[in-house]
């Protein structure tokens, strides 16, 4: 029995069972099925680790059937489990399991309970499709599938129009990216006559492809990545996506789906490694995203919005890493980020749950005492993301910074700034939520309660992971060898990625800077929000206002794209279609009628006139045909 079938099949099965007869089953069973399906996939992936880790034939392949056969080009439904995909699989299913577990009680009251779990399982299935596919088509299937699921889950509470809008926004912005991906695939087809990774990558590695072509393809693929991974310019959907239930935000919009773009790039490493121009673009786009999102994160008051922007910013970090060619590092950060960001979201969820769906941090505070577990884990998450030494985030972020430092000093400076901002807004969030005194007048402090065990358990697990996650790829200066992840991925990369040689002194300086950043950020935040105990104002002005309103990007898009499109639509329909074209097409009838009316003048019933006309006609006939002809 091919493990891939099980890995893919179990979530699908869970989706089908829950989707078809979930409304008949009791909730606990539904939850159990959903969780078990994902857990099963996780276990199977673990079991196959040993096979994959063998140096030779380290991939498991599965060819199901031919999807399309266009004369030479044959598109197969085929999967492969190799070092990269199993890594992703473990992240997805692992965190997925925890979040399923968490959701059982988080969604307890919701009448759409079974629907929720069905969607979650379906999402897991699509995500696995994305990472397990052995050709671009399969990846595209997963790619759009996860988009679909995120649409369904963002708009989960369908009665609310705004949620529906957010869901549509997410799907459509993803579609824009998908178009890029699709066109990239077309280019690949026209260039290599196949979509299979193996074929395409070997041909690229062979190096007989024009550079411009590679750049074009990689750029198009990157457009797809920006859509899915919420980079400039297609990032605005992610903050709105927080409309969905919090576990969804944790799973889809923090841990897994949004990292698909990074997965794509790592998967096509050979392609990107050979197109430097693209790398530069990626670098700067990622950098811009990182800084911009971090800035906006400073001024958000919705607990989930802050985390959302932090996610966007962290994704920016990853793309910066990709831009510098440090693919392992990017994936490493994906992993650690999955840990602590999921942790943070779930913690936030726990807070929201404990405070009965209050999300505004200005109405929180002092929750430390009421929900100790949540508080502790959340603190760990915060430390991890803001790079507290020896926590997972510290290592991954440090590697990124190092890579950028080697690559481009300006970029490095900006990124450091962004890291600083990260620390600040994270601790702002932390302090405002858990410290100070309680500020909510609608919901009594007494009623605030800690979440049940099956919500806190995932928190604890993730907390542990966030602490030790760094071990996955320890830097050379500790182990005097390349990190585990680096070696793990090495056989995958057809073009060995640059190991930035760097003398230890510089390295220690960089580490020092990193630590310094953390401390500064922490102190600033503490100074403002603990010592001064500032409460963010309802509306801030000047720069603050700019940040609070997210640089007015949404408004800008609405003015520049949405509105004109709507106007064009009306104009085309009412004016062009309704008047101009109509006049040109159907105007003939009034014209004919007009001529017909002229005939009334002739056919006026007067005998002499008739006779006269006839005589004239006769004369004409005779004249023209006898004299002139």
């Amino acid at each position: 029995m091919n493990p891939i079938i099980l890995i893919l099949g179990l979530p699908l099965l869970g989706f089908i069972i829950n989707g078809v007869l979930g409304n008949k089953l009791p909730k606990i069973v539904v939850g159990a099925i959903g969780t078990a399906a994902v857990l099963g996939a996780f276990v199977i992936a673990i079991l196959n680790w040993s096979i994959i880790s063998q140096p030779e034939n380290n991939t498991i392949n599965l060819d199901l059937f031919t999807f399309l056969q266009i004369d030479q080009l044959s598109l197969k439904v085929a999967f492969q489990l190799d070092r990269l995909s199993i890594w992703m699989t473990l992240i997805i299913t692992g965190i997925g399991t925890l979040i399923h577990l968490y959701s059982i009680s988080y969604m307890k009251e919701d009448e759409g309970f079974y629907k929720f779990f069905a969607y979650l399982n379906f999402f897991i299935f699509n995500m696995l499709l994305l990472v397990l596919g052995s050709n671009f088509l399969m990846m595209f299937f997963g790619w759009e599938g996860v988009g679909l699921c995120s649409y369904l889950l963002i708009g989960f509470w369908y009665k609310n129009e705004d949620y529906g809008k957010a869901a549509r926004k997410a799907f459509i912005m993803n579609r824009i990216g998908d178009l890029g991906l699709l066109l990239g695939m077309f280019l690949i087809i026209s260039q290599f006559g196949s979509l299979d990774y193996s074929v395409v990558f070997t041909q690229i590695a062979a190096g007989n492809t024009s550079n411009s072509m590679l750049t074009a393809i990689s750029l198009l693929l990157f457009v797809g990545a920006t859509g899915k991974s919420a980079q400039i310019p297609l990032f605005t959907w992610l903050p709105d996506a927080m409309a969905g239930p919090t576990p969804v935000s944790a799973l889809i919009h923090a841990a897994t789906m949004v990292t698909a773009g990074i997965y794509l790039t790592v998967r096509c490493q050979v392609l990107f490694a050979l197109s430097p121009l693209t790398n530069e673009i990626i670098l700067w786009v990622g950098l811009g995203t990182a800084v911009m999102a971090a800035l906006v994160g400073l001024k958000q008051n919705d607990i989930k919005k802050v985390l959302a922007y932090s996610t966007v910013s962290q994704l920016g970090f990853m793309f910066v890493a990709l831009g510098t060619g440090a693919y392992t590092t990017a994936l490493f950060h994906v992993t650690t980020h999955a840990f602590f960001k999921a942790l943070l979201f779930l913690g936030a969820g726990s807070v929201i749950h404990g405070m009965h769906h209050e999300q505004d941090i200005r109405h929180m505070g002092g929750l430390k005492s009421k929900m100790p577990l949540t508080h502790l884990t959340f603190l760990i998450g915060t430390l991890a993301i803001s790079g507290f030494p020896l926590l997972s985030g510290f290592f991954s972020k440090d590697e990124i910074l190092t890579a950028v430092f080697m690559h481009n000093k300006v970029a490095y400076a900006l990124l450091v700034g962004s890291a600083l901002l990260t620390t600040i807004y994270m601790f702002r969030l932390y302090f405002l939520t858990f410290h100070g005194q309680y500020r909510n007048h609608h919901y009594a402090f007494e009623k605030v309660h800690e979440s049940p065990i099956n919500m806190t358990l995932p928190l604890m697990v993730l907390a542990v992971l966030s602490i030790v996650g760094g071990a996955l790829n320890l830097p050379a200066y500790l182990t005097h060898s390349e990190g585990f992840l680096f070696n793990w991925l090495k056989p995958l990369f057809m073009i060995p990625q640059s190991i930035h040689e760097i003398d230890h002194s510089t390295e220690y300086v960089l580490i020092g800077i990193a630590v310094l950043i953390f401390v500064t950020g922490f102190l600033i935040a503490r100074n403002i929000f603990v010592t001064k105990a500032t409460i963010p104002a309802e509306t801030s002005t000047g720069l603050g206002g700019l940040l609070q309103n997210k640089f007015y990007v949404d408004e800008f898009y609405h003015k520049v794209f949405v509105r004109p499109l709507e106007i064009t639509s009306s104009i085309l329909h009412d004016l062009f279609d309704g008047l101009i074209l109509r006049a040109f097409t159907f105007g003939i009838f009034p014209l004919l009628k007009l001529i017909g009316r002229l005939n009334k003048k002739v056919q006026n019933g007067n005998l002499e006139m008739y006779l006269l006309y006839m005589v004239i006609a006769i004369v004409l006939l005779l004249g023209v045909n006898l004299i002139f002809a």
């Binding site: 005939n599 009334k600 056919q603 006026n604 019933g605 007067n606 005998l607 002499e608 006779l611 006269l612």
Partner: protein, 108 residues
């Protein structure tokens, strides 16, 4: 006296009958009274008769097709005149008019 007619050429006949025909034609065009119209039409027919007769003579048609035709035309013309006058009477009975310019009830 007679030889005057003998050295007439065919062309004269053609001219004559054409003139007659045109007189009839213009009569039809410019007179209003139905009876006059009828007479004008008769004139046209007779001009044709003259022409046919002349042609027959001119071509020396052995079995005188043309002149035979003339007789047919006369008969038909008579029948037509009869019908026409009948219609005229009918119209007159209803409208008290013989003026065709009043016949303009039927039109688009």
């Amino acid at each position: 006296m007679l030889n005057v007619f003998h050295n007439l050429e065919i062309s004269h006949y053609i001219y004559l009958s054409t003139v007659l025909f045109s007189i009839g034609l213009f009569g039809v065009l410019f007179r209003r009274n139905a009876i006059v119209l009828l007479m004008c039409i008769e004139l046209m027919l007779n001009s044709v008769n003259l022409l046919l007769a002349a042609f027959t003579e001119y071509m020396g048609d052995a079995n005188a097709n043309g002149q035979m035709f003339v007789f047919f035309i006369m008969v038909v013309a008579a029948a037509e005149a009869a019908v026409g006058l009948a219609i005229l009477v009918m119209v007159y009975r209803n409208t008290r008019k013989t003026d065709v310019s009043f016949l303009d009830q039927l039109k688009d």
